[in-house]
């Protein structure tokens, strides 16, 4: 399999992009497709390891060496079959996944790893372009009905799997369009929404019913849903935003990222005009939170035409490369420069915001910070210590809070009478099955805020459990969890 010395012959290729200065002028994706031969070369870099750590590092268990080999051999349709066998939506992960597989790649020990995500993305893009991805409705229906609450990646994956197993599936979404965070959380420049629509067409054609603007627990009661469907899958996400309870947090211009981004996405979609309070144009923007959402805020602010964009992170600046604390093949905490950072931002580390300062109109005009240090005591959680005499004031007209989520909303699970785990997530007594036998849970609402790739994995695994519950046994694929690369 593969090209035996490919990894010695070819270098890793980064996906070509449009110049930052040009790309910030619009909200479109800014990547450029590599040539087929280039992709084949990238596939040839795969070493076909005896123990492919990438395959273990991928929460979905993507058969990475196998599709790499097919790409190398220019057998794209076969590559697609392999890719789809573990991943319902490679076009999402191919764009958005932070690629733990690449961090686990064996070649990464000595050289830049194989560009797995790039290959993944272009396999599925080729599939859509060639028309290989067609609806595959089940040949027979089981007569069982399943309701899926939430249409993010977990809900959609569960829906597709269960539908293919022959069940009649309805997906409920309280927002006006299907997709959850994919649609309104992820800016278009990272994934244009037609990518979702294209997939939804397939799902609909396969027979899945979608109901938007329906909020379970309100529009339909939990009880009604439970009674009407043979099984229910809750894939409602972890939507409670972490707050910042400091002075000035209620000032105008202190905005949650997860309000800012959806607003913008809807504007890009032409659903409404941008509200001034969510507009970064000509403003000094401070994004608090150094994660992916923070990055999305930076990219969006720059596209608005912000005067300046500053990014705060409470943790210290990570090393440029892996440290011994995070040895290969685990996910490393190292400095990541996202495409949004490249588009222009100032980054601050080890910094804690103490107060938002308002102007007389009750609008934020600046913020006060201190520098912090982390004290590590073995066996205990690290302590945050403020450095003396390190107070500083920053001008700020728009503060975007990208602090993550604390867990799922409680009201709906409570209506169903479900139990929660110690972290406040919906508890799967038996993995995905809740304390109520017909009610299942998957995705961020079960495991807490996580990656898309985990969400899809959760949806697939939950689907297997639902199918087993409904039919006694299930032929839906299930990954071997023992293969997950677990840090110790």
């Amino acid at each position: 399999m593969g090209k035996i010395k490919g990894f010695m012959e070819y270098d890793r290729m980064k996906e070509p992009v449009i110049d930052p200065k040009k790309r910030v002028k619009n909200y479109n994706e800014f990547t450029l497709a590599p040539k087929t031969e280039e992709l084949q070369e990238q596939g040839a870099r795969c070493m076909d390891c005896g123990v492919p750590f990438c395959h273990s590092g991928c929460p979905l268990g993507n058969l990475i060496p196998d599709f790499n080999d097919e790409v190398y051999k220019n057998e794209w349709e076969r590559a697609l079959t392999i890719l789809h066998s573990t991943n319902n939506f490679p076009e999402f992960t191919g764009r958005l996944c932070p690629a733990p597989c690449e961090e686990a790649c064996v070649l990464g020990i000595v050289n830049p790893p194989v560009s797995i995500e790039l290959i993944e993305k272009y396999i599925v893009e080729r599939g859509f372009n060639e028309g290989w991805i067609q609806p595959e409705p089940p040949e027979t229906r089981t007569g069982k009905t399943v309701a899926i609450v939430g249409s993010g990646p977990a809900g959609l994956a569960a829906a597709q799997q269960l539908n293919r197993a022959g069940h009649t599936v309805t997906v409920f979404e309280r927002d006006n369009k299907i997709g959850g965070l994919l649609r309104y959380g992820i800016p278009d420049f990272k994934m244009e929404k037609k990518v979702i629509d294209r997939r939804l067409e397939i799902l609909e054609a396969e027979g899945i019913q979608f109901q938007c603007n329906v909020e379970i627990g309100k529009t339909i009661t939990a009880e009604a849903l439970e009674n009407e469907y043979d099984a229910v899958v809750l894939a409602t996400g972890a939507t409670i935003k972490r707050q910042m309870p400091i002075p000035g947090a209620d000032l105008e211009g202190v905005v949650q990222a997860m309000d800012f981004l959806p607003h913008n996405n809807k504007a890009v979609d032409g659903q409404h005009d941008r509200d001034a309070k969510f507009l970064a144009k000509d403003r000094n923007v401070v994004v608090i939170g150094g994660g992916d959402t923070g990055s999305d805020c930076i990219g969006t602010s720059n596209r608005h035409g912000a005067k300046s964009v500053t990014n705060f992170e409470i943790l210290p600046k990570p090393a440029d490369s892996r440290t011994e604390e995070h040895p290969w093949p685990y996910w490393p905490f190292k400095l990541k420069t996202s495409s949004s950072h490249e588009e222009g931002s100032h980054r601050e580390w080890s910094i804690l915001t103490k107060e938002f300062i308002g102007d007389e109109k009750g609008h934020v005009k600046g913020l006060k910070t201190v520098e912090v240090q982390w004290k590590k005591i073995p066996g205990e959680r690290p302590q945050l210590i403020e450095k003396e005499d390190s107070e500083k004031e920053w001008p700020c007209d728009l503060a975007l809070l990208a602090l993550g989520f604390t867990g799922p909303e409680k009201s709906l699970p409570e209506q169903f009478g479900l139990t929660f785990d110690e972290r406040g997530n919906i508890k799967g007594e038996n993995d995905y099955q809740t304390n109520k036998k017909s009610i299942f849970t998957a995705g961020d609402c079960r495991r807490g805020q996580s990656l898309i790739v985990w969400a899809i994995s959760e949806g697939r695994e939950a689907a297997h459990q639902v199918d087993s519950y409904l039919m006694g046994t299930s032929t839906l694929p299930q990954k071997n969890k023992a293969g997950d690369l677990v840090a110790v």
Binding site: V51, P52, V110, L476, V488
Partner: protein, 1500 residues
Amino acid sequence: MLPAKQGLYDPQYEHDNCGAGFICSLQGKKTNDIIHKALDILDKLEHRGAVSADGKTGDGAGILIEIPHDFLVTQCNFKLPELHQYAVGMVFLPKKENQRSYCIGVLENEIQKQGLEVLGWRKIPVNPDVVGAIAAQTEPHIMQVFVGRGSDTLSDHQFNIKLFIARKIAEHTIFSSKLSEASYFYLPSLSTHTLIYKGLLIPEDIKGYYQDLKDPAVVTRLALVHQRFSTNTFPTWDLAQPFRYMCHNGEINTFRGNLSRMEAREELLENDLFGPEIKKILPVILSGKSDSASMDMVVEILLATGRSLPEVMMMLVPEAWEKHASMDEDKKAFYQYNACIMEPWDGPASIPFTDGKYIGALLDRNGLRPSRYSVTKDGYVVMSSETGVLDILPENIEKHGRLEPGKMFLVDMDEGRIIEDEEIKKEITTKRPYKKWLDKNLLPLKNIPYTGNKTPVEEEDFETRMRIFGYTQEDLKTIITPMSVEGKEAIGSMGTDTPLAVLSDRPQLLYNYFKQLFAQVTNPPLDGIREEIVTDTSLSIGSDYNLFDITADHAKKLSIQNPVISNEDLDKIKFIENDDFKSTTVSTLYETQSGLNGLEQALEEMIQEVEKAIEQGANIIILSDRGVSPSMAPIPMLLATSHTHHAFKRSKQRSKFGILIESAEPREPHHFSLLFGYGASAINPYMVNEIIVHQTEQGTISLDADKAIENFNKAIAKGIVKVMNKIGISTLHSYRGAQIYEALGLSKNLIDRFFSNTATRIEGIGLYEIEKEISKRHTKAYIHESKLGLPLEIGGDYRWRRDGEAHVVNPSTITTLQQAVRQNKPESYETFSKLINDQNEKLMTLRGLFEFSSFDPIPIDQVEPWTEIVKRFKTGAMSLGSISQEAHENLAIAMNRIGGKSNSGEGGEDPKRFQPDQDGNLRNSAIKQVASGRFGVSSHYLSSAKEIQIKMAQGAKPGEGGQLPGPKVNPYIASVRNSTPYVGLISPPPHHDIYSIEDLAQLIYDLKNANREARVNVKLVSEVGVGTIAAGVAKAKADVILISGFDGGTGASPLTSLKHAGLPWELGIAEAQQTLVLNDLRSRIVLECDGQMKTGRDVAIACLLGAEEFGFSTAPLIASGCIMMRACHLNTCPVGIATQDPESRKNFKGKPEHVINYMYFVAEELRQIMAELGFRTMNEMVGQSQKLNMKKALDHYKAQGINLSKILYKPEVPPQVKEYNTQTQDHQLENVLDFDILSQAHPALYRKEKQHLEYRIKNTNRTVGAILSNEISKIHGAGGLPEHTLSLKFTGTAGQSFGGFATHGLFMKVEGTVNDYFGKGLSGATLVAQVPEKSTFIPHENIIVGNVALYGATQGEAYINGIAGERFCVRNSGAKAVVEGIGDHGCEYMTGGIAVILGDFGRNFAAGMSGGIAYLHSEDGTFDEKKFNLEMVELEDLQDSDRTTIQGLLQNHVDYTKSPKARSILKNWPESSRNFIKVMPTDYKRALELLAKQELEKTV
């Protein structure tokens, strides 16, 4: 009389090897002296035999002489007729009188029933005092019976037949009598010509025991003698040799198949002379006898058919005629005709035989046993395994000869002359019109017309069928595609770490429950690639005929060249229209809905259908699994085949038909060889054919489909040859039905019912579970919907996949181990060991099924410290070459620091490493390995060892050799291996100096001489019978025996060998421990164990089962950074371990501390367990298997039938019998001639003064020169002394390994003859073998040096004034030699040095020769090209430089030996130099040119 089966010990796995010989008078002089001389021969061969723990009981010896008529007349109180008019029977009888008289009665009765007359009985005078204690327990009462003809009209032949019938029926009657001493009854001989005295005695006691032999009136013209060396420690009286017509030195590997085929032949026996009695003499072969005894019984029946003794021997042990390019037509036809009747009895065999009229001997087709003879001027012929066994004056020698492979040596006693091989065979082969018979009757497959009839196309869709038969993408990509593209099997690396089939959650093919057996120690594996001329895969199919009718009918067979056949060929047979052949297809499907009942019923119906078909005249039965459907699933083809084979054997109809297989199942060589091994005669793998066609259509294989299928079939044939070769079998003909497998995980019921006579030691699943597996696969194949996953599962057997087969080594275990050792983090190690131990417990390995029990905790500080424990730890044999210098040295430094041992592997070692380096690190590997390639094995190398390991087999590929491709042999690797850079290196499958147990004893002796301080370790691989082999090895005086598991790693091995050969160490170590303890041999040796050992728990279990030292390979490599790429064979290892690429090597990040940390963690985990169990020291723990239990809660449906009690069995022995190593072996070096020399050679050795010394030498002076060289190496290093510092002259016959490992500065000359292994491992000395001046024979027509001369020589020179035997200069890598003639397989695997051959040479010259140069001379300058193996060499004319080289060497030859031949060549040099030819390896030439170019570039 053998001990009963107990635990893992089973007497049926005993092996035989021996010394044998004969002496006869050509002038027909009858003397008593011949008896004494013959027994002297045995005395001189004593080192080839063995003695049990009591020090007295030999494995058996005996002598066959002519009937001493005149003597007997005086001894009998009844009248004897003329000589030859009566028969004498030597009879072993029960001790108890009542039982004895019963036996006598039965025998007399049967004799009388044949119309013969019992003339009387004579009690033989014996002296029981000489019998050893063990032998005395079973000593029989011995008498002679005299039988008269009863009627004058009886011909000799009729008389013999009546004797035969009487004896056979008496045997059968008594053995079935249930007498307690029935097994005492045995007739060593009953003949009109010969008489045998034998017993469980050591040779010197034979005449002490049998008083007759001392009587001067006992005279004979001939005497045949034999002594056994069996691995067997419970020898018996009746199995002592000679047998009635023959004795045997060697081992019949095909025995099980021969036995089974013989049973089938018995169905048809019919003869007027026997009449209805014939059924009563069956079975011909009594059960429970040795291979040699059984062969003798077949000789008897064949003689009864009227064939002559030489003819019978030719039938049983044919020459390698199949690929013989120049054999005459009649002879070939004789062999081919007889191949239709009898498959070869194959294996190492030197077989002396006699019927009183003829005495002779025959050698197997491979020439694997030595057989030397001398003819004296006063009319004696002496033949034996060694030369020099009788003192004969040089001037009395007329000729020194040897038996050549496949050749016969025969003396006609009545004519008083030696009949040459050609003459005997000419007479025999032209007696009947064999050629005509064949031409008329034999039908080659290619001659069958294709009728166009075709098997209907399958209805079920392609992918569904693939799923039903369990195909995965890996099967397609990894197994099938490489074979159809390359025509050979794919290679893999590292060990297998997937669960045993019986422990796997995934449905397994039945094939996976069988493990291939392989040869180790008692007989050699073969090399079917380099020695292709002796291998053959053709088979013939059809009905068999009566052995007594020597007619054209036997030739009515369908003959197939490669019995892996295409669809078209199958169709030809299916629709054959021919009077002699009729085929019927029988379906092997069953109704899945009926489950087990359905399967049982289908198996039943299958037999009924076959029965019906043969009634209707079918003689070819095609078992077919075509036509699967949702309701019909396939019976495993192996089950169907073996069932048919055994069912019809039981009903005595097996000879009526051949079995052909039409199956979708087989895809790997292992599958095919199993089908053949259980009775199939040809196989059509139609699914594979379909897959290949599909792949070519898709473009995955860019070849024409027919070509690709042909490639695949070829690859399978090669793979089968490899499997056969592992156990030492050369022809598929004898492999068919031989069942050379061990079952692992199948219940005894199942085996007895369908695979009878296959070992299955831990039991396991039965038919119910088999059905469950089939139905699981079948159901899944149908409910599968491609949209929910892949149409075909990925697989994951060879490379880890989440949803594939489980692997012990996986991302989590690798990661946690690496973290543990790099950060010295005990928590990580705990996680690692928990993962491994849990995985084990999750049923991946046998040890996982155990749990510790009988806890008796002590405080952990009372347990011996880790620093003591790690001294018992070793790292595995990984050569420099297979792994990088960095990785190799890292392991050595680590192990030296903690007092453990690292192992050099088979690849030599840089002498720089023998001393500590500047940083104080010692990079010297404590263990130096000696493997079949002998790379870099020199006196100095051996002198640097603490332990020397003889690798008999390797877990990953037991029974196979290896290959280091040219590109990996960089200049550094080449320098330590003593080879030429960029020239590929081959390790042969066998050690060419170990074809049997006595040879191993000799190598151990050699190595002990080469370094007296080092322990000698013999590495074996677990398989059934390894315990008895270990007992033999202990008797051969190894200090350490290593039992490896099948799952050990490798740098490169064919994929199927990785998985299917050898067994887990749990079985091997337990069997070895039990057998050694039973025989009180355990205390003499250290028992070591390795094979995927990773945690303290693993070590604890190995220890409780009997091991006291432990080897680790994969885990320390992982600790050093290995991430199980499994690309070792590709030279691309990205972490710098298994690679020689300078760039990749830079990536090596391992440190000695990592390895040390790992060893520490393992030892600490072990200490915890020891504390819980209550052991303070490891010695207390060894073999205490009562501390282990089988896990109770086994909820795995397949594992439930497993029974581990045999592994846990502890033999009951008296308290003085120790269960661990308490003493050292007595190597008996005190009598070595070298010590005499040492005492006189001080000036030369210490002061480098030139010295000349002279000695007498005998064949019992073995390995002369090795101790001297060891001393020189220790004092002077690798360079030794200046050339010719110590000059030694020996007169007489040199024993084996003369000049072994002899180093620089020694000049050693023998005037006389020399035995095998002359110059083994020659390390710089000059050796000379010269014909004594008083001899009158022509040197270049006489053999003066034995087989396998200069094996593994690295430097030095050798001059041989006469012929040397087979395999001259095998694996020579640097010595220069001149010889005046050689046998077959000359210069095999040679990689360097020069061989000048002035006389005749045998077949297959230069096979596998990748380096060095050979110059051959003939009188007229012409050479028979067919005798060369031209695969790797070219024949060239000489250049001037060549002429200079030869001239110089010939001048030396004349100076040292006075060779008339060399002198005459030199005399006419310009002319005679034209009569040379140069044999130049292609690789070598290329490498020399490259090196010259590099040299040039350097200077520019």
